[in-house]
Structure formats: structure tokens, C-alpha cells
């Protein structure tokens, strides 16, 4: 008899344990659903007011009775800064991953750790450094000469170089995505089977040719995934961008030159959220911007994870069966 009750007790307490674990596990799903619901319902007034033109309009006016909001400049600002950050950060990261995945552990380990430490630096400190150190050098050594040489002829370099602009914010973003992209890329390159590298070396390939023959084709998907993961980081990054992008609003925030100020989706939220009144449609407009940002982030990260996971599955799979 006692044995039976003991078993029963065990079943019950273990069931409770299992339920508890399952609830904690599903917490993330609940949060995601609730978050989407909250953002949709709380931004509803702006969709009601502006409809889909909220996405295509460029106005941004919070003055009472003349309220008019359009998110286009900030969507473009986010896309532009992220694209430039990718263009700078991804090649650098792939280079770093190549060096570290191939270097002897004694050199690669510490260097890899240093690069990863970049991820530990808080965003706001990037902002502070960008604002008071990097911006000054960048403006005097790069922006001004470029502007003086090409400013009149090439629109990219027009605009008065002040340092609080698209290119400064983008370069800082590039630095911030390097640890993510390089660490994932390195793992993916390391996942390429040794036999593939040997096949290339057997043919008389140099190290660089080995990368071209064996590593890049094999890890292409994963490297794209790693880059998209970096894109996700860049799109969501807030503080450093807010401190460096110049914080223009409305039509003035539409990216026009590398040296012009702009605004991203996350930076306009950071700048204006606390001052917006929940009673006006200013706050729904900001939440609407947040909703668009969330959707973009979800799409980017889902794609990135599918690519990276697929790559690591191929690694375990049977190409060399």
C-alpha cells in the first residue's frame, strides 16, 4: 500500500514540476503574442487616423489640432543607416572570422575575445565615445576633406559636415555589429569539415584559394544568416544612434546625403516617447513606429535564424557519407 501512495505522490509532484517548466517555457510565446496585441491595439488610433498613409507620409507634427504623423522618414533612416553599417561591418567581420578561424588557438583565442568584448560595451558608451571622441576625428579627417573635394558635385557628400549625421551613426553601428557577425561567421567557418579543406589543399590551393574553394561555398548560407543577424542588431539599436544621428524630424529626416542628419525608428521613440501625451495621437504614432520596427525585426531575425540553423544542420548532416 505504502508503495502505491509513494508512486502516486511522485507522479503528482513531478507533474507539477513538469507543468511549471512548461509554463515557464511557454512564457516567451505568451509575451510575444501579448506584445504584438498591445502594440497593435495601442497604436490603433494612428491607423484609424492616417490609415496606411502613416507608412508613406513624411509629416511629423505634434502641435495640438494640427497633428499629422508619417513614419516614412524614420523607416528610411533605419534602412539607410543599417545598410551602410552592413556594407562596412560585414566585410570586416568576415575578414575577422577568416583570420580567427584559421589562426593558431594561442593568437586566435585572445583576439577573438577582444573582438567579442566589443559586444559587452553598452550602447550608451558607444554613444558617448561617438559623440565626444569619434565624431571629432571623423568630422575633421574624413568628412570635411570629402566634402571639400566632392561636396559640390556628388550629392552623397553634400551637406555641411558636422558629425551628427547618417554616416557617423552608421559607422558606429558597423562597429557594434562586428562582434555578432564575426563570432557567428567564425563558428560557421569552423563547422566546415576538415575533409573539405584537405580536398582544396590537395589540389595545391593556397590558403586564400582554400577559402574560396572549400569554405565560402560550403558556408555561404550560414554567412548570409550571420550577416542578417547583424542587420537585426543594427535595425534595433537605439542609444548610440540616437546620440549621433542628429535627430531631425519630418521631411528633414529623409536621408539626403551622408553628412545630413536623419532619424531612425528606434531613435524617434527614444527621443519623443516620454514627452508624448497618451491622450493625443502622438503616442499612438510612436507606438505605430514601434510596431513597424517590431515587424521588421521579426522578419529579419526569423530569416537569419532559419539560415544559421540550416547551416549548422548541414554540418551534422551527411555530405561526406
Amino acid at each position: 500500500m505504502t508503495k502505491v501512495t509513494l508512486n502516486k505522490k511522485r507522479v503528482i509532484s513531478d507533474k507539477v514540476f513538469k507543468i511549471g517548466a512548461t509554463v515557464a517555457g511557454t512564457y516567451v510565446l505568451v509575451v510575444v503574442v501579448l506584445m504584438a496585441f498591445q502594440l497593435i491595439s495601442e497604436s490603433y488610433p494612428i491607423w484609424e487616423e492616417e490609415g496606411l498613409s502613416f507608412i508613406t507620409k513624411t509629416d511629423w507634427n505634434a502641435v495640438e489640432d494640427r497633428e499629422s504623423f508619417g513614419a516614412l522618414p524614420y523607416i528610411l533612416g533605419t534602412l539607410t543607416t543599417s545598410a551602410i553599417a552592413m556594407a562596412i561591418g560585414v566585410p570586416l567581420s568576415i575578414g575577422i572570422a577568416m583570420f580567427i578561424s584559421d589562426a593558431p588557438a594561442k593568437i586566435g583565442g585572445p583576439l577573438g575575445f577582444l573582438v567579442e568584448l566589443l559586444a559587452a560595451v553598452p550602447s550608451v558608451i558607444y554613444g558617448l565615445w561617438g559623440l565626444f571622441v569619434f565624431r571629432i576625428y571623423f568630422r575633421d579627417w574624413i568628412e570635411t576633406p570629402l566634402h571639400n573635394a566632392f561636396g559640390d558635385n556628388i550629392w552623397l557628400f553634400s551637406g555641411n559636415p558636422y558629425g551628427l549625421d547618417i554616416i557617423t551613426a552608421s559607422v558606429i553601428l558597423a562597429i557594434m555589429i562586428i562582434p555578432t557577425v564575426s563570432a557567428v561567421s567564425r563558428e560557421i567557418m569552423k563547422a566546415v569539415p576538415q575533409q573539405q579543406k584537405e580536398a582544396a589543399y590537395m589540389l595545391g590551393a593556397t590558403k586564400w584559394e582554400m577559402f574560396k574553394l572549400a569554405i565560402f561555398p560550403y558556408s555561404k548560407t550560414g554567412l548570409i544568416g550571420a550577416s542578417i543577424l547583424g542587420l537585426g542588431r543594427a535595425v534595433g539599436e537605439t542609444m548610440a544612434v540616437t546620440m549621433l544621428i542628429g535627430n531631425a524630424t519630418g521631411i528633414g529626416a529623409i536621408p539626403s546625403s551622408l553628412f545630413g542628419p536623419s532619424q531612425t525608428m528606434s531613435s524617434i521613440i527614444a527621443n519623443e516617447f516620454v514627452e508624448a501625451s497618451p491622450a493625443s495621437i502622438h503616442m499612438p504614432a510612436l507606438i505605430g513606429v514601434g510596431l513597424i520596427l517590431l515587424l521588421i525585426a521579426i522578419v529579419i531575425n526569423v530569416i537569419a535564424h532559419l539560415l544559421v540553423t540550416r547551416m549548422l544542420k548541414i554540418k551534422e548532416g551527411a555530405i561526406n557519407n
Binding site: 593558431p104 588557438a105 569539415p193 576538415q194 575533409q195 573539405q196 579543406k197 584537405e198 580536398a199 582544396a200 589543399y201 590537395m202 589540389l203 595545391g204 590551393a205 593556397t206 584559394e209 574553394l213 572549400a214 561555398p217 560550403y218 555561404k220 555530405i319 561526406n320 557519407n321
Partner: protein, 278 residues
């Protein structure tokens, strides 16, 4: 088993270092391994092995698994460079220049040495055609007509041509395991090496393909110096002119194949070829 333990010091003179008969005067050695020792993290996997490989001959390396034959074979193409903790000492001369010399990049030598690995390792994202021509493109051969010709020759020699001639653009991983291995052989042959190293190339193949590969080896002998690692003694007898028997990292005996199998001089070799252990 203790009786089988070898005493390396007793063989320092390498009595079998060059295959008999050594009287043939005009024999040229294509490749010479001198006092090669390979250690992994301080443990010797190959101990002070010296071997000379005659031009246009087939040499088989046999021995129980873990005897160091594959490790030794990989030394002949500097494949240990990528292995962490591996340390190679000694010399490997190809046409009398040292593969391990610091002055000359191993790439100069690897061009002359083709290698086929135990597991097929085609480049999975490339087509059959691109796999075969990968090494040629590295060497600056771009002429489409020449490439086509070499692809055909190489695939024919690897006995794969008839099966794939109509879809050379097909991805290499769509082939069966045996076909992949033959593709790897074709890829190695395409760079027109002078030495061919094969690490149990038939272990992934069915008997018919194995037979065909053995025929290829016999044909290639007219032109190539071939060194093949195998644990199949019958295969060694069928294809090789010389056989080296390795045990626990030592080269125990290295002679003409026929003599080694019919009249082994070493007790260990005798026990191994008679199938007493393996």
C-alpha cells in the same frame, strides 16, 4: 600479444629502407621519406620511418589499424600542417627537393602530388565538371576545349565517365558514395600529378567499382608513382609492386610485394600476412 611488441632500436639501420632488389642501377626514386617521425601532442604515431619510392611503381602500405600508415601517407603531402598538435620531423624529398624545406612553399610540391582520401570529399556545392576542373583553374588553365578534354580523360580513368557524361552539370552530392569517390579520384588525376597518394580509396566502393579502380591503378603505373594505404592484403597483392608493413608506428618490413607475402623476413610480418592479427 607481448611477443608482438617491436623493439624499434633493433631496426635503426632500416634494413628494408629501400625495396629490394637494390641492384637495379637505373632505378630512379621519385620520392624519398627520410627519418620521418610524426607526433601528436608528444606521442609518436610514426617513428623514424625511411622509405624510398621508385618512379612508376605502386607501393602499398599495410598494417593493422592505428599502425600509422595513414598518418605517414599524409606526411607525404604535408596534410598535417592543418592538424593541431601534430609535429613532423624528418625529410620528404620529391624529385630531390625537400617538401618540408622552409624556403619553398609546399604548394610547389602539392602540384605534383595528388591525393585521394578515405572518405569521398567532393566539393558539395559544385557540379561534377567544376569539381574535376577545380585544380586546373587554380593552375591557370582556362581554355574550355582543354578543360573538356581533361574532364573526359580524368573521368574515364576513374571509370565514372559513362555514368555521368550526360549530366556533368549535376551537383556532386547527387552522386552515390562510390561515384563520389571516383569523382574524387578524377579530381586528383585532373591536375596531372606525378605522384598519387591513395588512402584506402576502395573502402567506400562496391566490388565492381573496386575492381575498376584497381585496373586504373595498374594502368596509371606506366606514368605515375603511386602509394596506396590499404588494409586489404589481397588488394595489395593485386596492385602493388612493393609493400611496406607498418606496426605501431614502425616500418617493420619493406620489400617487393611478392616476396613480402611469400617469404616475410620478419616474424611480425609473417604473422600479419598469415592473418594471425590485424
Amino acid at each position: 600479444m607481448t611477443a608482438l611488441t617491436t623493439n624499434p632500436t633493433s631496426m635503426e639501420a632500416h634494413p628494408f629502407a629501400s625495396p629490394e632488389p637494390s641492384s637495379t642501377i637505373d632505378t630512379k626514386y621519385k620520392m624519398i621519406a627520410e627519418n620521418v617521425t610524426v607526433s601528436y601532442g608528444g606521442i609518436d604515431a610514426v617513428k623514424n620511418v625511411t622509405m624510398k619510392f621508385k618512379e612508376k611503381s605502386v607501393t602499398a602500405l599495410i598494417g593493422p589499424s592505428g599502425c600509422g600508415k595513414t598518418t605517414f601517407l599524409r606526411c607525404l603531402n604535408r596534410m598535417h600542417d592543418m592538424t593541431k598538435n601534430a609535429k613532423v620531423t624528418g625529410k620528404v624529398l620529391i624529385d630531390n627537393t625537400d617538401l618540408y624545406s622552409k624556403e619553398i612553399d609546399p604548394i610547389y610540391h602539392r602540384r605534383k602530388v595528388g591525393m585521394v582520401f578515405q572518405k569521398p570529399n567532393p566539393f558539395p556545392t559544385m557540379s561534377i565538371y567544376d569539381n574535376v576542373t577545380a585544380g586546373l583553374r587554380l593552375n591557370g588553365v582556362r581554355d574550355k576545349k582543354i578543360l573538356d578534354e581533361i574532364v573526359e580523360d580524368s573521368l574515364k580513368m576513374a571509370y565514372l565517365w559513362d555514368e555521368v557524361k550526360n549530366d556533368l552539370k549535376k551537383s556532386a552530392i547527387e552522386l552515390s558514395g562510390g561515384q563520389q569517390q571516383r569523382l574524387c579520384i578524377a579530381r586528383a588525376l585532373a591536375i596531372q600529378p606525378e605522384v598519387l597518394l591513395m588512402d584506402e580509396p576502395a573502402s567506400a566502393l562496391d566490388p565492381i567499382a573496386t575492381q575498376k579502380i584497381e585496373e586504373t591503378i595498374t594502368e596509371l603505373k606506366n606514368d605515375y608513382t603511386i602509394i596506396i594505404v590499404t588494409h586489404n592484403m589481397q588488394q595489395a597483392i593485386r596492385v602493388s609492386d612493393y609493400t611496406g608493413f607498418m606496426y605501431l608506428g614502425d616500418l617493420i618490413e619493406f620489400r617487393e610485394t611478392k616476396k613480402l607475402f611469400t617469404d616475410p623476413k620478419n616474424e611480425l610480418t609473417a604473422k600479419y600476412v598469415q592473418g594471425h592479427f590485424g
